[in-house]
Amino acid sequence: MTNKLFRYLLAAFLLVSFKAISQHHETAGQHAEKSEHQTENTEHDEGFDVGELVSHHLADSHDYQFELPFLHKTIHLPVILWTNKGLSVFPSSKFKGDNQGKVIVTDDKGNKYVRLHEVIYYADKLGEHEHPSAFDFDKRPLNFSVTKNVTGIFFSFILLFLVMYLTAKVYQNPKKLPKGIAGFVEPIIIFIRDDVAIPNIGKAKYEKYMPYLLTVFFFILFSNLIGLIPFSPFGYNLTGNIYITFVLAIFTFIITTLSGNKHYWKHILTPDVPKLLWPIMIPIEILSMFTKPFALMVRLFANILAGHTIMISLVALIFIGGTLMVAPVSGFFVIFMSFIELMVAFIQAYIFTILSALFIGLAIEEHGHEHEAKHVEHTI
């Protein structure tokens, strides 16, 4: 028993130190860049910039970087823009790694672009020292590029498809006992059917919504789990990006709204309160229609992003400390936080699914409780 425990702890410690080494290679490159720009030779540096490291690892970008100790390669993903002169596709290596808006890329239609903090703007619409934000929509073309997050979605999709396809193949032959990966997936599917879908949506109508609930659960679970892997091609941050959780929450909102029946809309637009309170209650009810998916979005995003930020900051503690003596302490904290993050990955996927099921159940519930209220009134 203790032999196994020792082996697991050793493996976890090696994984963490592997991540620290690969980050060290990458930040050594960053330090070299920084000291080139500085003309004077300062003693160590003005302070290791943890914020820069965190935003480099967690934000979306147009390049996909492999940072294994034996393989340092940057894949420049294609940039696909829809401008007012048509579609324009070019590899992002044309920007030559520039993120400060200095390199101007001209495409074959004559548009010029600059890139500032991973956002692409039209070069001729920017002033000389202007700092535009990503929400200045008239200065930006429509950006449909394949970025790091899009390849992350493709990875999650391929993983999800492989797991589910292999599971389905096991059940094709009804005479054989299920074995293999079906043994892992089937209890989870039964759990979602029996403890999430049926109690909230009801035995009569839950089957229509099972595909959506299963997809959402497994997509969020796999994306969270892949984000925890410290190896370089896998550690992308998918559910920690607010745009992705925004899309998931929009799906829940659309499904809830489109399947709302008459009673749902009756409760929102003509609630069961005295008519004088309607000017207050109706805006509150309409607002609550939007805040529920909003809360879903922010909850998943903030939990996963906070977890990833803590992990990166704990490893960066070694570089702030400056000595190698901090490494065992930092390694221990990172192992401890990894267990918590594993639990959070499962819990957040479960919470998103069960709250979606709850909202769908509220939207399609039939009217049973109003009769009871009237009966109670009459008997008293």
Binding site: V298, R299, F301, N303, I347, Q348, I351
Partner: protein, 66 residues
């Protein structure tokens, strides 16, 4: 002004700590009273903890934006 954001996030952490601590306390007390319902109580505890943590993380997100 980064330190004000840090203070805000710290206050949110206090709120989350108090809330989840109380949830955990009542859940274990209820499980001690009726051990046969321990599974359902644990499920309810996890859901309530995730909701409380969600509210605390709203504050963290606002602090991060500043």
């Amino acid at each position: 002004m980064g330190s004000l954001a840090g203070i805000g996030a710290g206050l949110a952490a206090i709120g989350a700590g108090i809330g989840i601590g109380r949830i955990g306390g009542s859940a274990t007390e209820a499980m001690a009273r009726q051990p046969e319902f321990a599974n359902k109580i644990q499920t309810a505890m996890l859901i309530a903890a995730a909701l409380v943590e969600g509210v605390a993380l709203f504050a963290v997100v606002v602090a991060m934006i500043k």
